[in-house]
């Protein structure tokens, strides 16, 4: 049950950070668009915005991966 509890916590954390991530992306994008379209034009603005959103998603994925891998290593270490 402890193993399941740890995984449930990971799922809950992933869910929570996903919601926070979506809010951050959708709140920050309109501000970015307003600022960028004046200086670099719509085409480069779209590329920049998608790029920034992708980087943010990758950062969250790395956090999720590290969390799960550390949990796994800890479980194996405890057994040994």
């Amino acid at each position: 049950l402890r193993a399941i509890f740890g995984l449930i916590l990971i799922i809950f954390f992933v869910w929570l950070t996903m919601l926070i991530g979506l809010v951050v992306i959708f709140v920050s994008l309109p501000l970015l668009i307003l600022t960028l379209s004046k200086t670099i034009g719509r085409f480069f603005e779209s590329i920049t915005v998608v790029g920034i959103a992708s980087v943010m998603v990758i950062i969250w994925l790395v956090i999720w991966k590290e969390l799960a891998f550390r949990y796994f290593s800890k479980m194996i270490a405890e057994r040994q």
């Binding site: 995984l7 449930i8 869910w15 998608v50 991966k65 796994f72 479980m75």
Partner: protein, 331 residues
């Protein structure tokens, strides 16, 4: 209430009965023609008929056509659903025949987005919790192929133990149906019910100890269907949440191996079978970290115990999916 329950009851029953009736004859046919897989998580490594997921394809497709009688105004959507999911199923059959490889498979499954995009049946204004409706007219159609490839392949990658894929997907779809009903999307819920009915019938034969395997045709079709239903029901975020165990399993495996991979090409298997039949985690650092390996990290378990833990994780995800949809409605 009758308008809500009747279409759902009919589609779930049709999906269930067709799949249930087809499985015995299809499994006999597959076994007779040598279309078999080895159940590697058993000591005696029994031969099990494969590609039986074709019964789910038939069950859901027939049910979807009958569904169109209830909702004739949704005929374009039914066409998009059937053609998109059939593309995923054909990729599954092709993979069995020609071994199309782990890199090409998601690309081919992503082609299932073509009918949805060209028939323009999607709604590019998805709703998010705390944000409300958004306007993604350019990005949304670009995300549809990615969504189909992710759902189909993540379901495929969790088809590792007897009943693991059918059980976890049934729970996820049940969560999605509740979300659709909360949004008043009775039509989408009825279509999802067809898939749930077929899955439940298949689960009877696929649960531990399995008598049939779905094969890639079944898992890619189910994953593709979940992706299409999320778009149709306009419950994109809730569907991602309900599919969290599948997506996490696929992502962790991908992150360990560093590329898309087939189970068969992994030299260091993540799980090994002990002499008493229990499953033990492989402590080799080269083995991919999967959901099953994380469940087994603490102690060896019997196969059905691992599957049961996956069901618990899916139930938690389905509850979180409903909570996500509630946040969208309340906001």
């Amino acid at each position: 209430l009758l308008e809500t329950i009747l279409p759902m009851a009919i589609t779930i029953l049709i999906g269930f009965i067709i799949t249930l009736l087809l499985i015995p004859s299809v499994s006999k046919f597959m076994f007779k023609h040598g279309i078999i897989g080895i159940d590697v998580h058993k000591l005696d490594r029994p031969k099990i008929p494969e590609l039986c997921g074709i019964t789910i394809v038939i069950g859901v497709t027939v049910s979807a056509i009958i569904f169109s009688l209830f909702y004739p105004e949704q005929n374009i959507w039914i066409l998009a659903f059937v053609s998109s999911t059939l593309i995923a199923a054909i990729v599954g059959i092709l993979d069995r025949i020609t071994k199309i490889g782990p890199r090409l498979k998601p690309v081919l499954v992503a082609l299932g987005a073509i009918p949805i995009i060209f028939l323009a049946v999607y709604n590019p204004y998805p709703e998010f919790p705390f944000i409300g409706a958004t306007r993604l007219t350019i990005i949304y159609p670009l995300l549809i192929p990615i969504a189909l490839a992710v759902t189909a392949n993540s379901v495929n990658m969790l088809d590792v133990f007897n009943g693991s894929m059918t059980g976890t997907c049934s729970i996820a779809i049940l969560g999605m149906i509740i979300c659709m009903l909360m949004m008043g999307r009775v039509d989408a819920a009825a279509l999802a019910a067809a898939l749930l009915g077929s899955l439940l019938a298949f689960h009877i034969f696929n649960k531990y100890p399995a008598k049939v395997f779905a094969g890639d045709v079944g898992s890619l079709f189910i994953g593709g269907s979940i992706g299409v239903l999320a778009i149709y029901g306009r419950i994109e975020v809730a569907a991602i949440t309900a599919m969290m165990p599948h997506i996490m399993n696929a992502f962790y495996g991908l992150a360990t191996v560093g590329r898309l991979y087939e189970r068969k090409e992994i030299s260091t298997r993540p799980i090994r079978v002990l002499e008493d039949g229990r499953l033990e985690v492989n402590k080799d650092s080269k083995a991919p970290i999967t959901l099953a390996r994380m469940i087994l990290a603490q102690r060896p378990l019997k196969e059905f115990e691992v599957t049961r833990r996956m069901f618990i994780l899916s139930t938690v995800s389905a509850i979180l999916a409903v909570l996500t949809q509630l946040l969208i409605i309340w906001w």
